[in-house]
Symmetry: C2
C-alpha cells in the first residue's frame, strides 16, 4: 500500500466554466444597496470600479460562466492543482477517517488567489484598463494581483496595511519582483488615508482603510480600476474551479466527501472549495457537512451580526448584507492576516442563513500546533490562514476515531506558509498568545452599523 | 496557439532507477584517497559516516540503480516535476530559441534537494541510524534533510553557517517546523568549532567549517551518521531523475535538447539535469552542449585548480580530485549561498577534464536582472542560485536571435526564491555589488593544497 496518494488531473480537465451557485439557491441573496438612496444599485453604479464583464458576472444568475481561453492558458501554469490523500497524517492520528487536502499553494504566488487575479487582470486588460489598484493585508492577494499584472502588462498599485508592510518585507519584495508598486496604508496619497493620519499619525492601518484608499484612487482616475481579492460574487465565482477539480479527483479515488472544510476570511477559498459540493447537494446529490473555519480573534460568521454594512472604513463602497463585526471593528493582533476582515462574503453569509453551511472559530496556537504536525507528516507548511482549516480537519478526524467512523474529510490547503515563517518562529518561541475579540470593541463597532435595509 | 506549455508526466513515469554515469564514461574518475596514507580508501573507511547502502552507490559502476519503493512513494508528493516551455519569456526576448525549464521548486522544501535527502534518510533509517548531522549554507539543503527526517522519524542536527543563521531566520524556522535542530556554525559543540572560535570568536562561518562540525559529530557517536547535500557520487546519482524525466518530457514536446544548462555549486542539480543527456550522447545519441554556470565570486570550474583536496576546512574528510579554490578559500559576500563551496563534485570535475561539459561564470546583478525578467514573464521567482542558470539561458537565447538559430535550450530551475526575498529587496534597492573573487586569497588558499595524488 502506497503512503502518499496524489490525484493529478490532466490539463484538459481544467474546468471550461466557473460555477455560479446563485443559479441553484432556493432564494437569491439580498440586493446590494446604494448608501445614499438605500435603493438597490445597478451595473452602472459599479462601472467606475470594475469592467462591465466582471459586473455582469457579479449579478449573473447563469449556472455556468465560460472561462476565457487566455485565462485557462495561464491556469495551466499550475492547474489542475493536486488533491492529496493525507495517509501519513491519518496514520499519525490513528484515525479511520480518510483525509484529503486540495493544495492551492502550487500557484506561483503560493495561494488560491491567482485563480481570480488572473481572471480579473484579463477582463480589465480587455476593457482597456491601464492600472489596477488594490489592498492587501498579509500580502497573499497583493502578490497574486502583482503576478497577474506582470503577465498582462497592467500597472498594479497595492495599498498594504502598514503593520504588514513593515512586518512582511519579503511579501513586498515579491510584489516588486512582479513589477507592482507597494504603498504602506494609510498613505498620504489619498483623501481617506490623509484623514486617518490626521486623526492618528501612528495608525497601523487595517484592511478596511486600505480598501478605502484603493477604491478612491480607482474611482477618481481614468483607465484605472479596482480589484478585490475576496468577498464579491465574481471573486468567489472564479475560485469555484477548486471544488470542481476536487470532485473529479475524489471520483478518481472512488470516494465522496462527507465533510468539506475551508478557512474563511472574506470567503473566497471557502466558497471555491465548498460551492460546487453544495451545488451538487442542491441539485439532489450527496449533501456533505460544510464547515467554514474562522479565527476566534475575528469571528465574523460565529459572532457577527447579519446586517447591511459597508465593505470599507471610509464608507466608499455600496452596502452589502453580510455577517459583520462592524466596518470600524479592530481585531486584536494575530498571525493570520488573511482572516482579519470585518465582514464576510454576502454569498457565504446568505448560505449560512439558509443553514447550508456551519461555522466554527479557533485560537491561533491550536492552529499552529495542528499545522506543525501536518508539516511533519505531509511535508507542506500551511499558511497561517490555512492552518485554521487543518485544525478543523484534525478535530473531525479525531471525532471519527472516537466514534469509530470512517468518513471522508476534504480540506482546502489554500496556501503555503513560506512568507509567514516569522509566525512559526514566534510559535516555537512561545510568543504567540491566544486572543479573543474584544467584546466592548465589537459592541462599539456594531452600534455604528448603518440603519439601512 | 497556447501561451503556456507544461509537460506533465503521470506518476507512473517517475523513474524506477537512478542513472549512474560512471558506467558510460570512457575513463573512470580518479580514486578517493586516505589523507594519512595517500592510498585509495575502501568502503570500510566511509562506514563511520554513511550507511553501507550509500557507500556501495558511491563506488558503483552499474548503469542503473533501483529506487526503493518507499522513496518513490515520497517522490510522488511532488514528482514528476513539470517541464515548462517558456513561451512568454521567449516572446519578450523576441528569440527564435525554444526555452524549456524543468521546475524543481515544486518540492515541499522548494528545491531539487529532497530528491536525495529522502533517499539518504531512507537508507539511514533502514540501517538503524537514529540521527543525521549535516551542514547548510543558504538553508536549501538543511530544510530538505529536515523535511525527509520528519517523514522517516530521524533526528536531524543542522550546522548552519553563522552568517546565514542570522540573515535567514525563516529558513531556520522552516527546519524547526520540520522538527530539526539548527545550530549556528562555528559552534561550541565540536572540537572543530571550538578551535575556529578560539582563533576568531567573531567568525561568520563557512560551508567547509560547518561540514567539519557535522562530520565530527557523526564520526564520534553511535547511531549517528552524516548526510551531504551535494558533491558526492551518490548524491548526484539521486538527482538524475531530473534529467531522466526531462528527456521524457521533451519527447512529449517532440523536441530534443541542443543546449543543457544548470547552475553548479557542489554540482548536484547540474548533474541531475545534465548526466542523463551526457549519458545518451556517450551511448551514441544526440550530443547537446552542456553548460555549468557558477558565480564569478566563487568560480570553481572556471578558475579553480584540478587537484586533490579536502572537502572541509578542518581536513576530516578523505581527499578527492576536483576543481578547487582551496579548502580555506573565503569567497566575498554574495547572495547565492548554495554556490559558495570551495570545491566541485569530483564527477563533474572529471567530466570537465574530459571536455564533456563547458563552464561559465556570471556576476550576481546580471543574474538577478535576468531572474526578475523571468519572474515577470513566467510567474516563478527563481532562487538566487537558479538565477545563474536563467542568466545563461537568456544569453544563449539572445545568441540564437543574433544568429537566427532556433535551438532548444533546456534549463534547470532548481528552486524558488521565497526564502531569498531579502536578496531581491537588496537588488531593487541597488545594494547588490558585483564581486570578483580575490586573487590574492585564491593564491593563498591554493598554496595550502595537500601534496598528494
Amino acid at each position: 500500500m502506497s503512503d502518499t496518494l496524489k490525484y493529478t488531473l490532466p490539463e484538459t480537465a481544467i474546468p471550461k466554466t466557473w460555477y455560479n451557485i446563485v443559479a441553484d439557491l432556493p432564494t437569491p441573496p439580498p440586493a446590494v444597496l446604494h448608501p445614499g438612496t438605500g435603493k438597490p444599485i445597478g451595473p452602472d453604479d459599479l462601472a467606475p470600479l470594475f469592467p462591465m464583464a466582471l459586473i455582469l458576472q457579479e449579478v449573473s444568475t447563469e449556472r455556468e460562466i465560460e472561462i476565457p481561453r487566455p485565462v485557462r492558458d495561464i491556469y495551466r501554469l499550475w492547474r489542475p492543482s493536486p488533491l492529496y490523500r493525507a495517509r501519513r497524517w491519518e496514520r499519525s492520528l490513528d484515525t479511520p477517517a480518510r483525509i484529503y487536502y486540495k493544495y492551492e499553494g502550487v500557484s506561483p504566488a503560493g495561494s488560491h488567489k491567482p485563480n481570480t487575479s488572473v481572471a480579473q487582470a484579463f477582463y480589465n486588460k480587455e476593457a482597456g484598463v491601464k492600472k489596477l489598484t488594490t489592498e492587501t493585508g498579509a500580502g497573499q492577494w497583493g502578490s497574486s494581483l502583482a503576478f497577474a499584472g506582470g503577465l498582462f502588462g497592467l500597472e498594479i498599485d497595492v495599498y498594504m496595511v502598514k503593520v504588514s508592510y513593515h512586518q512582511k518585507p519579503y511579501r513586498r519584495a515579491l510584489m516588486e519582483t512582479y513589477g507592482a508598486r507597494c504603498v504602506a496604508s494609510p498613505s498620504t496619497e489619498t483623501e481617506s488615508g490623509r484623514a486617518i493620519l490626521a486623526k492618528d499619525p501612528e495608525c497601523n492601518g487595517s484592511l478596511g482603510i486600505a480598501i478605502s484608499e484603493a477604491v478612491e484612487m480607482a474611482a477618481k482616475q481614468d483607465h484605472v480600476k479596482y480589484a478585490l481579492g475576496s468577498v464579491l460574487n465574481h471573486v468567489l465565482l472564479h475560485q469555484t474551479i477548486i471544488g470542481m477539480e476536487t470532485i473529479e479527483q475524489l471520483a478518481m479515488a472512488n470516494d465522496q466527501a462527507d465533510i468539506v472544510i475551508a478557512c474563511a476570511g472574506g470567503g473566497s477559498n471557502f466558497a471555491g472549495l465548498a460551492f460546487p459540493f453544495i451545488g451538487q447537494a442542491l441539485r439532489g446529490g450527496k449533501k456533505p457537512r460544510v464547515i467554514a473555519v474562522e479565527p476566534a480573534a475575528c469571528p465574523t460568521l460565529t459572532r457577527g451580526r447579519y446586517a447591511y454594512d459597508f465593505g470599507d472604513t471610509a464608507h466608499l463602497t455600496p452596502l452589502v448584507k453580510m455577517h459583520t463585526l462592524g466596518s470600524s471593528f479592530m481585531p486584536p493582533g494575530f498571525h493570520a492576516g488573511g482572516l482579519r476582515y470585518h465582514g464576510m462574503s454576502p454569498l457565504v453569509s446568505h448560505l449560512k442563513e439558509l443553514n447550508l453551511i456551519e461555522a466554527v472559530a479557533y485560537q491561533q496556537t491550536e492552529c499552529f500546533k495542528a499545522a506543525v504536525a501536518f508539516a511533519r507528516s505531509e511535508g507542506i507548511v500551511p499558511a497561517p490562514e490555512s492552518s485554521h482549516a487543518i485544525k478543523c480537519a484534525l478535530d473531525q478526524a479525531l471525532r471519527c476515531k472516537r466514534d469509530g467512523k470512517s468518513e471522508a474529510i476534504v480540506v482546502n490547503l489554500s496556501g503555503h506558509g513560506h512568507f509567514d515563517m516569522q509566525a512559526y518562529s514566534d510559535y516555537f518561541a512561545g510568543k504567540l498568545q491566544d486572543r479573543d475579540y474584544d467584546q466592548a470593541e465589537l459592541k462599539r463597532a456594531l452600534e455604528e452599523l448603518p440603519s439601512v435595509g
